[in-house]
């Protein structure tokens, strides 16, 4: 059994953080599956600290205006638009 217990409340909390509604059956199924999966992940406790690859470098390019999608193309897949903008629900 995992030392990070997962119950229905925990699943609902994570679903809220992830912005995914779940129905009751999903919450129950996930609670039991997550317990198994997280118990399996707990074996990562045995992994020693390992020095990470240090030779990574940033790849930069000049910040220049380049050809890009037109406003019309960018909006083409949106379910709703208004006056050339995406239309969404109220933010608060």
């Amino acid at each position: 059994m995992s030392d990070s217990p997962v119950d229905a409340d925990e699943v609902r909390h994570v679903a809220e953080l992830a912005r995914i509604d779940l129905d009751r059956e999903e919450v129950e199924a996930f609670a039991s599956q997550f317990a198994d999966i997280l118990a399996y992940f707990d074996a990562l406790d045995e992994v020693p600290e390992v020095e990470q690859e240090a030779d990574l470098v940033n790849v930069m390019r000049p910040d220049e205006v380049r050809e890009c999608l037109s406003q019309e193309e960018a909006l083409a897949n949106a379910p709703e638009t208004e006056d050339g903008y995406f239309k969404g629900p109220r933010v608060s």
């Binding site: 990070s4 699943v11 994570v14 679903a15 809220e16 953080l17 992830a18 912005r19 995914i20 509604d21 779940l22 129905d23 009751r24 059956e25 999903e26 199924a29 996930f30 599956q33 997550f34 198994d36 999966i37 997280l38 399996y40 992940f41 074996a43 990562l44 406790d45 045995e46 992994v47 020693p48 600290e49 390992v50 020095e51 990470q52 690859e53 790849v59 390019r61 999608l69 193309e73 960018a74 083409a76 897949n77 949106a78 379910p79 709703e80 995406f86 239309k87 969404g88 629900p89 109220r90 933010v91 608060s92």
Partner: protein
């Protein structure tokens, strides 16, 4: 074609360019953007999504003269190993219609195996090219991270995934890799290696003097029938002049755990873009909807009268299937306060350890060998009920993605009439060596 359900969208895009793939037909996995051609990622979320631009690999296919014949079925957003999590129904294995083709690039492998396309592109995040190649009896290559541009690939786990070729033979897979490999200004993780590649020339079958390291950790857990075919394939390489030795990598015990923590964490971030506003299923237009009927109460398109978070959450409930929800939730959990150190940080340590172990093993051997999949292709419907068991069949493929290395799956023979794949892993940008070794192993 329809019999196998290998394609989500069948549409022909001709190219009038004269190039190395002129006259060849190619199937493209449905998470690779094709301008003007629907790209669903196997998800209901993107059922109507039509990309406004081509992925770099698609541009290169068109320039090479290839004719695209359609977009292939896949596990939703690449999350699965059987193509059964697709919102468009499972693909059947052409070798045995009662079995899965593997995944997540199951449609691509099935299309090539059935002859519906000469070649195909898949994507490999934790084995998604090699797994279906093995299960369908074709060749699949997962390139070194950075060899092939990911521009226009719909992201699942950026640090792990590469686009790779599927083909009936090693030489044809290498020819397709030559077309798509090389640097791209639109993907800053691409490298110069591969710019003027000629991997196809390496398919000469000459393994005289090559050292093959058998990764014992990845053989021990496999089905006996798979091991028997694998051992015969290795013996063949030895008889053709290769030196065979055994290697063991202690870190591999933690590969599946580390892989899933990292892949799910990256997925939880990447899939945050599906809010039902810029593309995808809006809360009100969602077909299916929530089973308790909450979505029906949102009568206004986009849910404008509600608030952003509620609308967002309803859109995602309706648009994502169970495996995608599971991974996004577990990834959110692994990154959340209090668990980040325990899961994500430890998974990164395991990843660094696995890279180091592979470097050591590859200093003693030119290529490393194992069965591609530890099992024979499962029956349709057999694997979905237990997600953890499904994750465990990725044991032999995920280490390669964690280590950023190239690997190929080549048909090694059959057991009980079903294909078995031999996996050969090479050093970073050592595609020529794995192509050479695989061409010798080809029956």
């Amino acid at each position: 074609m329809a019999e196998l359900n290998a394609f989500i969208t069948e549409e022909t895009v001709e190219s009038d360019a004269d190039g190395p793939l002129s006259g060849k037909t190619i199937a493209v996995k449905d998470n690779i953007s094709t301008e003007g051609l629907r790209t669903t990622c196997g998800s209901a979320m993107l059922e109507e999504y039509v990309p406004p631009y081509d992925a770099t690999v698609v541009t290169r296919l068109k320039e090479s003269g290839a004719t695209i014949v359609g977009k292939t079925n896949m596990d939703e957003f690449g999350m699965g190993g059987t193509t059964e999590t697709s919102a468009y129904g499972p693909t059947k294995n052409p070798v045995d219609h009662s079995r899965v083709p593997g995944g997540s690039s199951g449609g691509s492998a099935a299309a090539v195996a059935a002859g519906d396309a000469d070649l195909a592109l898949g994507t490999d995040t934790g084995g998604s090219v090699r797994n279906p190649a093995a299960f369908c009896g074709v060749v699949g290559i997962k390139p070194t991270y950075g060899l092939v541009s990911r521009y226009g690939l719909v992201a699942y786990a950026n640090s792990l995934e590469q686009i790779g070729p599927l083909a009936p033979t090693v030489r044809e897979a290498a020819e397709l890799l030559d077309v798509i490999a090389g640097p791209d200004d639109s993907d800053s993780t691409t490298r110069e290696e591969g710019a003027d590649s000629n991997y196809a020339a390496a398919a000469d079958g000459d393994v005289d003097g090559l050292t093959v390291g058998v990764v014992t950790d990845l053989v021990e857990g496999a089905d006996d029938r798979v091991v028997e075919v694998f051992e015969d394939a290795v013996a063949d390489l030895e008889s053709e002049g290769a030196t065979v030795r055994e290697v063991s990598l202690d870190s591999l015990e933690h590969a599946v755990q580390a892989y899933y923590v990292i892949a799910m964490s990256e997925a939880s971030s990447n899939l945050a873009r599906y809010d039902g506003v810029r593309y995808g299923v809006s809360a009100s237009s969602a077909s299916g909807g929530s089973e308790d009927g909450r979505s029906e109460s949102s009568g206004v398109s986009g849910g404008f009268e509600g608030n952003w978070n509620d609308s967002f959450a309803r859109s995602r409930e309706a648009g994502f299937g169970p495996e995608v929800k599971r991974r996004v939730l577990l990834g959110t959990y692994a990154l959340s306060a209090g668990y980040h150190e325990k899961y994500y940080k430890k998974a990164q340590d395991a990843r660094a350890w696995i890279k180091r172990d592979f470097d050591e093993a590859l200093s003693e051997a030119d290529v490393l060998a194992s069965p591609t999949m530890p099992v024979l292709p499962p029956k349709l419907g057999e694997s979905l009920s237990d997600p953890l068991q499904l994750y465990l069949i990725d044991a032999n493929t995920v280490p390669v993605n964690l280590a950023n290395l190239p690997a190929i799956s080549v048909p090694a023979g059959e057991a009980d009439g079903l294909p078995v794949g031999l996996q050969l892993v090479g050093s970073k940008f050592g595609e020529a060596e794995i192509v050479r070794a695989a061409s010798a192993a080809e029956s």
